[in-house]
């Protein structure tokens, strides 16, 4: 049972980081687990279970993100009462800028960032999990990180007063 929970935890953690929303992540994890069950007989190589499960999870995340666009214009922010993870996260501004920058990315790009930088998967492993060429993974990662860097750099600019919509 501990392994069961650990694997479910792993899928949920990835979904949560891709979608940046608790409800959406729970729904995506649920859908992914059901898809795993439904399609399990079609899995030819049991050794590929982990990569295959990520592919189903990312599909579910994509579906949830698409549904969320019809439900609400904005995703909810993650809870902010958790302790900061080390000194690398310089400020609340960094966090907000990252949050905004990340949300501007597509789910495809987010998935690459999360699998590589959170799950520590190599680029070939990410390519295998997502079923896309390694070059595409490299390209998406580059684009995504450039966007996030730009978001962080925006923090260094003089503050611009926001205009109420």
């Amino acid at each position: 049972m501990s392994l069961a929970v650990a694997t479910g935890d792993r899928l949920h953690a990835v979904a949560h980081r891709i979608l940046r929303d608790t409800d959406l992540a729970e729904d995506a994890t649920q859908q992914a687990l059901l898809a795993i069950w439904r399609d399990l007989p079609q899995l030819r190589d049991p050794a590929r279970f982990e990569a295959w499960s990520y592919r189903l999870l990312v599909r579910a995340c994509y579906a949830e993100a698409r549904r969320s666009r019809t439900r609400a214009p904005n995703l909810r922010l993650l809870p902010t009462d958790e302790p900061m993870a080390g000194d690398a996260l310089h400020s609340i501004h960094d966090r907000d800028q990252l949050e905004r920058g990340f949300r501007r990315l597509s789910v495809d790009h987010r998935a690459v960032v999360v699998l590589h930088h959170y799950m520590d998967m190599t680029l070939p492993e990410v390519a295998d999990a997502l079923g896309i060429p390694e070059g595409t993974v490299r390209s998406r990662l580059h684009y995504a990180m450039r966007g996030l860097r730009a978001a962080l750099d925006a923090d260094a600019r003089p503050p611009v007063r926001e205009v109420a919509q």
């Binding site: 049972m1 392994l3 069961a4 929970v5 694997t7 479910g8 935890d9 899928l11 949920h12 953690a13 949560h16 980081r17 608790t22 992540a25 729970e26 729904d27 994890t29 649920q30 687990l33 059901l34 795993i36 069950w37 439904r38 399609d39 399990l40 007989p41 079609q42 899995l43 030819r44 190589d45 049991p46 279970f49 499960s53 993650l78 958790e82 900061m84 993870a85 080390g86 690398a88 996260l89 310089h90 960094d94 966090r95 990252l98 960032v113 999360v114 930088h117 959170y118 990180m145 996030l148 860097r149 962080l152 750099d153 260094a156």
Partner: protein, 300 residues
Amino acid sequence: MSNERDTTRIVRSWLEEGADRIPDRVLDVVEARLHATPQRRAGWLARRFSIMNRTTVRYGLGAAAIIFVLVLGSRFLPTSNTGGPQPTPTPTPEPTPAPLTGTDRNLAAGTYRAGDPFLFPLEATVPAGFRGHIGGPYYVDLYPDSRAGGLFFIVFDEVSVDPCDASKGMTTVPATGERGAKTAADLVTALSEMPGIEVSDVSDVTVSGYTGTSLTITAPDSFAGCNLGPDGYVLWRLPLRANFAMTEGQVYRLWVLDVVGPRLQQDQRLVIMLDETGSNETQRAELRAVFDSIRILPAS
């Protein structure tokens, strides 16, 4: 300006924040829905069987199944009282069901779908001469135009403390399932313990892939001496405060099912109530046929 290394470090640190435990309620929902989720046939297996060693195939599938059990835990194995995976609705080549609406109206013969706002999407096929509507999140009815009985789909948590004494009010059915889940068994117990109501023909059932209990409840032959409220001999109350009452000696057949709602937090019971009061043999056969056609659809 952030350099590449700084950005990577900050992003990695930022990604460490967030949920890292799957909530139990997600596992509960998955567990409940597995019963209604048929597994897809392994097409590759048939194609490759001739070139693969039988043992290899068996090992591969077995290993995959074991992995999934490890992933989800033994909680998802079929329980002994169900006798294996639950039967699931068989797809039919019928045309797209017509939507049941919020307006009580005559229905042409055919299949109807009760969707939003009712909590549990379902379909049923009615013959000519039926009426029906969605009364809200907690109520759907299908009944003959003659009003001789009907089928009712209802969701409720409150039952009368004593139907014969309205002054005692209502009580909420305890939720004794895992982590406070509302179970069909809780409701069956509450109905069985309700004073004055005779409960019979209790049995385990599966309706459209969902397990539960069926039972017959019979009201007393006389309400003489009862302290009834304006709604009469009330058994239960829907969340929007609609009371359900019985007449003297009336009989309802109930199917109380464990059904998971469209949202994770809405673990609920669905009650299907068959009322054959005043119906003749033909009408009873029609009602039974409507019941047999019920398909409870996965919530989306």
